[in-house]
């Protein structure tokens, strides 16, 4: 199995384990852990309008 396939297999295995964790634990428990990922990602996100639209490939419709 190549690196990409192995990486995908591991990623999908984790997703299934996490889904099982969410199903079997209190909402406050799993959401607290999930929020560490979400809040830190948003905190570190810092882009200009141009950078954002370039990333989204939507540079053709900005009127500013």
């Amino acid at each position: 199995m190549g690196f990409i396939e192995e990486n995908e297999r591991e990623r999908r295995s984790f997703i299934r384990k996490w889904a099982e964790y969410v199903r079997t634990h209190e909402d406050k428990d799993w959401s607290h852990q999930q929020n560490i990922i979400i809040n830190s990602a948003l905190k570190s996100a810092n882009m200009t309008r141009e950078q954002f639209f370039k990333m989204k490939k939507e540079t053709h419709y900005i009127k500013y």
């Binding site: 406050k28 990602a41 948003l42 500013y64």
Partner: protein, 191 residues
């Protein structure tokens, strides 16, 4: 997470910054029009362990006067449109079936990706939306079966396929798998 019935899910979750952003915007939007949240944020609401820079929202086609009133309310509450400033310019984008984005002033991320229904699948998503209750808040999201089918048949990026896998696993006891297959058949060849 409790699946109360076919159209209601109750989640007693701790709210993230993304949730606060989404719920705040939806609180404004729902005063003016119907809406449905689709794509990645649906999986995230259900617990998927990832972030997103945007939240996809579909609304029915609305006339300019309703849009003007909505946009005024959006601006009054501290948001701006990233694509354009003039209401007519934004409305023209929507009429051209393009999505426009709204964020809090002086920010770019997170933002709401906002578009009109443009085909029967958007209409189905809007018509068959389900409600997620989070404490005192309530939010309309696309039927999970449609989300799974759309991500597996149309979007198909690794992130979307992972979202579909997650939703199928986390909600497996409550999903109509025949309906997923029906939606997939309908989507086949459409996009």
């Amino acid at each position: 997470m409790k699946f109360i019935d076919k159209t209601t899910i109750k989640i007693d979750r701790e709210l993230s910054e993304l949730d606060h952003f989404a719920l705040d915007f939806i609180d404004i939007l729902k005063k003016h029009t119907k809406y449905v949240i689709v794509s990645g944020y649906v999986a995230i609401l259900l617990g998927r362990a990832r972030a997103s820079e945007d939240i996809d929202v579909i609304i029915p086609k609305i006339d300019f006067l309703i849009f003007q009133s909505l946009y005024k309310d959006i601006k009054k509450n501290g948001y701006y449109c990233i694509n354009a400033e003039k209401d007519l310019d934004i409305f023209e984008y929507l009429k051209d079936n393009l999505a426009v984005r709204f964020a809090r002033k002086n920010t770019m991320i997170p933002n709401i990706e906002f578009k009109w229904t443009k085909n029967e699948f958007d209409e189905i998503s809007l018509k068959n939306s389900i409600e997620i209750n989070i404490g005192k808040f309530s939010i309309c999201v696309s039927q999970l079966e449609m989300q799974i089918a759309f991500k597996e048949m149309v979007l198909r990026s690794p992130k979307d396929l992972d979202d579909a896998l997650y939703i199928k696993d986390v909600a497996k006891e409550h999903l109509d798998f025949k309906l997923i297959e029906k939606y997939k058949e309908m989507l086949y060849g459409f996009y």
